[in-house]
Amino acid sequence: MITAEFLCYRNLAIDALTINPGITTIIGANGSGKTTFLKLCAGIAVPDSGTLMIDDALPRETETGWVNEFPDRNILFVNVFDEISSPLRFRRIPCDEIDSNVRACSETMGITHLLTRAVRELSGGEKVLVSLAAALVHHPKVLVLDEYDSHLDAHSLAKIEQGIRKSGADYVIRCTQQMDTAIHSDYLLFFDSGRITHAGTPDFVFPFLKGTAYYPFLSEG
């Protein structure tokens, strides 16, 4: 269980929140605190006050994978294979094991054809796929995805949705502006000005958003 108590950081304030294992999706306007919350979950930022615990451990004591919407901000290496294998290399895992893990992960993401390419030459969406593979390759307990789908087409999304579900991560916490993605979640949080205003299953939350741009068309009629 992920639990937050009296959590405060920048404009974000959450008095109490419990997230069970599964896929949790956060929706809301730009600037509503989605990314801020994700950074806390990934241990990239620490709260000003209050606590956020993942199965009774701090995020920084937990294996997490992180994907930023602007992958250029996180990519470290020149070519794709080196980038995806980096989390394993940092753990000093034997080379042949690294090789097979990277290949298996790339296959799931449908990017084996990119492995020898330079990251710089990739399209925006391809960079996101590479970042996702790098986040998944070391089988994190928590996978944190910040608007990863903003640069992806429907075909790639369907493919990686499988990859995410098969990743073995206990918790997937993501934010998105694609309500068709959000609808396929176990738990949905709607953020407004740094507060959680709606929380529950998509079936429970979306009716509150009827008439707004966040209401998914596909669930109608």
Partner: protein, 233 residues
Amino acid sequence: MVKISLNQVHAVRDQWSLSASGTFNEGVHLVSGDVGSGKSTLALMMAGLLPLSGGEIGKEKIITSMLSLQFPELHVTGLSVAEECASWGVAPDEILDTIGLTGKKEASPLSLSRGELKRLHLACVLAKDYDLLLLDEPFSSLDCEEKVKLCARIGQKSKGITVIFTHEQNILPRVKRIWEIVDGTLVDCGMPPDAFTHWRHVPPIIKKLTALGSTPNNISRDDFLEAACRIQG
């Protein structure tokens, strides 16, 4: 009339290639395609910023053109938001209130959130009329409400050629013509709603409405709503 014609335009890179032929007339055009299919490459070539591997691009009566890149930070030249606006020849006071950046004049553009930076960039781009406006993934980084506003803004454009390169499928402006990149080739799907029958990247909502016997006239949310209302009566 303004027009840009692609005559057997080619881009080749290792095993990857793109070929494109067709004419873009005045109005709003949508180019859809998967990740890595060559949308950005085509946008760069149409902007004249990438040499062609083959073929030619003809432009008629296009004096001013602008390419808006997918990642807005690549456009930033000013050290402050005010300087950034000035670099586009736009008075900050005229646009900052309209994009929710009141009081951020002195902030560094790179300190803005990505949604804020994209809004700033698009407001600067759309403040002027260009004969040819190429928008590469203009909807990325924007929240749903901002996407709706951007569609309205694009819908107000009365002159010039606007080409939107995107994989966005839910919130789109009304367009004159639909194109897509399939297997390395630019395909002209034609005008909506006739284009829907052979548009491979047709949004699921259009498929669903069509299956229910009510094809929307175009691809904006208003068109979807109108079609949905026709079903419900």
